[in-house]
């Protein structure tokens, strides 16, 4: 096995240096953004008068347009990334990045200092003046400029803009159009909400005789009423499905027939809007006739996302049924059960765990009483694909255990947790008969110590971390290290967990466990150890918030 440590050294090849620097800058920039969002607040400039206040109201809009531009830039120019990165990789080896890092940090400090009077903890719109605005923009632009120079010399950036000006112009136009679409969507939420309200009202009238209906947006029964807010009117789901279909059509365009495949847009929009109507109706039915707590705590949060998943996956399946796919129908079912290639064996356990978790949460009132169901589903899928895991069954080492202990310690430090949720969990178990609570706890331990670690490690360290190295992931040995696969897989692992910072750190720890010997079993063991110690902390020391 290629020594992993060698790739971590700073002088391990120019290519490795270039990648390392870009990833480090991306992480630095992301950390600065997150810190800025958490530290600064935007005062209500709309209540102020004057040109400065109006200008700063529009700054939030400019930021949104900037994000839209970045997104469209990534989509429009994704096919040229390999050429663009090759261009940057011929950066002179004597490019000194550390003076620009120093300059960036100084400029950032100045930017924070200037921003504090207006956006800081004691934010005041009155402190904004033309001089302040010029200073704010100048220090921000300087910080960004120096950040770019850390990555490559100025001439590389000039060369990039000269060559890609058409793509950048298209991206800017598309980004503006995307922002404008969002503005237009916000103006039509009221008619959409009224249609949603009308249909929900009539659906409820087929079930209940006494249905309350308020033109202001309230609908329900004497026992339970829901308000159709903008976020519940259906247009957010419509936006979500439009984005999904666009991404699906883009990445699978070689396998789809056009313009037939564009049919997925209206079908998806209609389906998601109808699903929203059904969701609200079911919410009121559950709240009125079953449990208001389940309706408010569980069902309301999950049902929309469950509907999105079903419709998204349904559209994929439909794209094959409607002959909008170039792939022969006999081999076209993406969701067919029974195919046993290696990627399915690595991903299916986690996917089944996610699906079961969403369903369990939708049927809960904050306490996941049906958790054992998720354990059974995941274990069944793991059993189904058990023959594919033989190459990963090796003698484990104590390294995995030690890393698991370290991850557990860091988890305790980083997880904030909500004591109220932990207390609710303990209270709920207290109301149950002893034997029932014991069964639930046994399944909770089995899930967190066995099925969850195995499912997550198979997906993240068994598949994703190798897929990020090469498209043909089977050819990548499990212990092969690259900075991109290490950082990105850890970040994606973290995003799947409630406390994402702790999740990223844990993901990085489990990846390190994999890299030490190149054995997936070590990552699994590290994950199992960490979760087992969490179970001890919960049951032995009463830290129920760790399971909440």
């Amino acid at each position: 096995m290629k020594p992993v440590v060698q790739n971590l050294l700073p002088n391990a090849g120019e290519h490795s240096n270039w990648h390392s620097r870009w990833i480090a800058v991306a992480v630095l920039f992301a950390a600065e953004i997150v810190w800025g969002i958490n530290t600064f607040t935007v005062p209500d400039f709309s209540r102020q008068s004057g040109a400065m206040a109006h200008l700063l109201v529009w700054s939030e809009t400019a930021l949104k347009i900037g994000f839209a531009f970045a997104a469209t830039f990534l989509i429009c120019l994704s096919r040229r990334f390999s050429e663009m990165s090759a261009d940057f990789q011929i950066t002179p080896p004597n490019h000194r990045w550390w003076p620009w890092l120093f300059g960036h940090l100084l400029a950032l400090l100045a930017f924070v200092k200037v921003a504090s009077p207006v956006f800081g903890p004691h934010a005041s719109a009155a402190a904004a003046s033309p001089v302040w605005l010029a200073s704010w923009l100048a220090t921000g632009a300087l910080a960004l400029f120096f950040l770019l120079l850390i990555l490559a010399p100025l001439k590389c950036w000039v060369r990039l803009f000269t060559r890609e000006w058409k793509g950048l112009s298209i991206s800017a136009f598309a980004g503006g159009l995307a922002w404008l679409s969002g503005v237009v969507a916000q103006t039509v939420w009221r008619p959409l909400a009224e249609m949603t309200l009308w249909l929900v009202h009539h659906l409820l009238q087929t079930i209940y005789s006494d249905v309350y209906h308020d033109p202001q947006g309230l609908v329900g029964t004497p026992n339970f009423v829901a308000g159709i807010a903008p976020v519940c009117s259906g247009y957010e789901g419509i936006g979500l499905i439009i984005v999904f279909v666009a991404i699906y059509l883009w990445f699978f365009r070689a396998q789809l027939k056009f313009p037939h495949a564009l049919l997925l847009f209206p079908l998806g929009i209609v389906a998601i809007w109808l699903a929203n109507v059904v969701r609200i109706t079911l919410l009121i039915v559950i709240g009125s006739s079953i449990s208001p707590e389940i309706a408010v705590q569980g069902f309301h949060s999950q049902a929309g996302w469950i509907a999105f998943c079903l419709i998204a996956l349904g559209l994929i399946a439909l794209s094959h049924r409607l002959h909008v796919s170039r792939v022969p129908e006999g081999e076209s079912a993406l969701l067919a059960q029974g195919h046993s290639h290696h990627a399915a064996a690595l991903l299916a356990p986690l996917l089944s765990l996610l699906a079961a978790s969403m369903l369990i949460a939708a049927l809960s009132s904050g306490f996941h009483a049906l958790y054992p169901l998720g354990v059974v589903v995941t274990a069944t899928v793991l059993w189904r694909f058990r023959h594919h895991y033989r190459p990963y069954l090796r003698v484990p080492s104590w390294t995995g255990v030690m890393i698991g202990v370290v991850v557990f310690g860091l988890w305790l430090l980083l997880v904030r947790g909500e004591e109220s949720q932990g207390a609710q969990l303990a209270r709920q178990l207290d109301t149950w008969p002893f034997w029932l609570a014991a069964v639930w706890i046994i399944f909770r331990i089995a899930g967190s110590v066995l099925t969850v670690p195995i499912a997550e490690e198979l997906a993240f360290r068994g598949y994703l971390i190798r897929k990020l190295v090469a498209s043909d992931f089977e050819s990548v040995p499990p212990g092969h290290f690259t900075w991109l696969s290490f950082v990105l897989s850890s970040m994606l692992f973290g995003l799947l967990h409630g406390d994402w910072i702790a999740g990223v750190v844990a993901g990085a720890g489990f990846a390190i466990a994999l890299y030490v010997r190149g054995q997936l079993i070590d990552a699994v063991l590290a994950h199992m150890t960490a979760n087992a110690l969490i179970a001890v902390a919960v049951l032995g020391f009463g830290h129920w918030h760790l399971w909440a």
Partner: protein
């Protein structure tokens, strides 16, 4: 091709049927003003005082991450199947 046309017609019909009732509120009021329609369910009088409204929590972002991960995972499986075929 027939399936495609049927799907288009169905989606257009659904779109039309959804858009038409946008003004049905006023149509319902108009119909219910006639004694002939008063006895029907859709003309039932609503309660004069609204029942208590429960505050509903924000949609959980973590559930969104799970949903997106689920859909992305299925798309990855599809891409792997195509890669093996190709």
């Amino acid at each position: 091709m027939k399936k495609l046309i049927c799907a288009m017609v169905a989606s257009l019909a659904l779109s039309f049927s959804i858009s038409t009732p946008a003004y049905a509120g006023s149509l319902t009021s108009f119909l219910c003003s006639f004694p002939l329609f008063e006895r029907f369910q859709f003309c039932a009088k609503k309660p004069s005082t609204p029942p208590p409204v429960a505050a509903v929590p924000e949609i959980d972002a973590a559930s969104g991450a799970q949903a997106i991960a689920l859909v992305a995972g299925v798309l990855l499986l599809g891409a792997e199947r195509l890669r093996r075929r190709g």
